[in-house]
Symmetry: C2
Subunit: 276 residues, 2 copies
DNA sequence: AATCCGAAAATTGTTGACAATCAATTCGCG
DNA sequence: CGCGAATTGATTGTCAACAATTTTCGGATT
């Protein structure tokens, strides 16, 4: 194809800023389930559609690979990571462990201000949910757990947790849409009440149940997806079918939003020395 | 300096293999405390001394930055990461949390074979210690904790733990040598006995005490190294004297061993699809 | 003596071209 | 018509040169 041989345009953006934008866009696309596990990420395509240089793309993919969101096979390129049942279980277990610790810490030291922030957050979440803005609702739902990590104050654990949460769409991919990967708003509200009451063990118990419920949903969805296939979203099915050869992936066109709106990538940024 | 302008030799090694070697060598140098926090890592120097291409070095540094072992400042290069007291505490807390979970799991499911491997490992450790091979002793000492993670079976937590353990020399750097960052062999042996007895809570308690002891050592050492100074922001001050401009770092000459002997880097490798 | 400015050196960042590799297709041959 | 081997097209991997930036150092000025 001739188009593929064209040079990149002259006004390519590069530098850490462009790379960050690329990483964020890909993470967002994964979180919004616009990219299925196994989907191919071709460097030149990404470069052309994002306006970044190929090097920026390359480095971005390198970072994403390290955080486990994409898989790199030498000489074969990058694909969205797939996640087997075993790793899914391990991720859930790790989440339970880390969030339990964070909730315990937070329950013991939460200030009035912290509670207020949590309440406000849950309210935002509720509104988004009520208004049917599912994309935002999912985003906020993830944000709730990250907010807890933030308030608990351990940045190391917070960055681990973010990594785990970013991987969630990989486990819960069913090809049939948006049902899973979504926390009920009710549970979050109850957790906040337990924190406010200083009842660490209740907060932990509620959250564990909350996560286990998610896990059950995931298992159920996966079982269903493997049994009955839905023709309604044909393109999603096409890629989920694990093509034995090179996946003539569905066009990643339109999967990305290259303007970095939210900072979903977070931890993926390497630690850089303070501002200059 | 003219030498710095010379081109790289023709027989530069590249490819993922060379990059891996570079990363391993740097991680090892950090673990063996041959590189102080704040030390500069100049791309061309590394390339010349390792025989790898500058690109391989660059990508390696990128990976190391993501795992938090080095810091990258745009246009200013890479330095070994420094670690303030707050992050040190967070790292210890995270270690306690993760290792406690792993020990609980392992205590409940350890097979005869697992116990045998642990025993053999502790014996190796004891011998290295007795023979005064401190380098090996420290290596094995770290390996003990990683072996527990491995046997417990949760790879996600295991990779988190490895990342934390790799950072340990950054926190415990005192500039005066090798005293800290070293677990007494006795504690490990007791932990294995608790695991063998299936006594999870004892194993956890022993390990927590073990880690807290390490942390106390670290704080004591640091206090001694810094004198009465408040360690609020400057950590590497003792060794680097905090030059206002570019740190004329202590020579990194001889700090590296470019033959990859042990695979200390571990998790730093991005997830790659199965062998080809 | 201390400080500020500017040129030069050293270092990082980026580019475009090219080599190496892989998957798919086509061709040759039985 | 089937099957393996060479070919082709597309993609990743690497390099050496170039551009941009930062640091250093010498010298002039106060």
């Amino acid at each position: 194809m001739l188009a593929a041989r064209r040079k990149l345009p002259r006004d390519v953006a590069s530098g850490p800023e462009a790379e960050q934008r690329v990483v964020s866009a890909i993470v967002e696309a994964i979180l919004d389930q616009k990219l299925a596990p196994g989907a191919r990420l071709v460097e030149r395509e990404l470069a052309l559609s994002s306006g970044a240089s190929r090097l920026a793309i390359r480095n971005g993919l390198l970072r994403l690979a390290q955080s486990g969101l994409v898989e790199l096979s030498p000489n074969k390129g990058a694909t969205i990571a797939t996640c087997g049942p075993r790793e899914a279980r391990e991720i859930f277990d790790a989440r339970v462990l880390i969030e339990s610790s964070l909730l315990t810490t937070l329950s013991e030291k939460a200030s009035e201000d912290d509670i207020a922030r949590l309440d406000a957050f849950v309210e935002d979440e509720r509104q988004a949910y009520a208004a049917g803005r599912m994309q935002d609702a999912r985003y906020l739902s993830r944000g709730f757990h990250l907010l807890i990590a933030d308030l608990a104050g351990n940045r190391v654990l917070a960055s681990f947790l973010r990594e785990l949460i970013n991987k969630q769409p990989l486990l819960s991919w069913t090809g049939n849409g948006s049902r899973s990967c979504f926390c009920g708003n009710q549970a979050h509200s109850e957790i906040v009440r337990a924190i406010a009451a200083g009842d660490a063990s209740a907060a932990v118990a509620l959250n564990v149940e909350h996560l286990r419920e998610l896990e059950r949903q995931l298992i159920a969805d996966r079982g269903k997806a493997l049994g009955v296939e839905q023709p309604s979203s044909g393109e999603a099915k096409a890629i989920a079918e694990r093509p034995p050869k090179r996946a003539r992936a569905l066009s990643t066109k339109g999967a990305f939003d290259w303007r970095a709106k939210r900072d979903a990538a977070g931890v993926l940024a390497g630690k850089t020395r303070g501002a200059r």
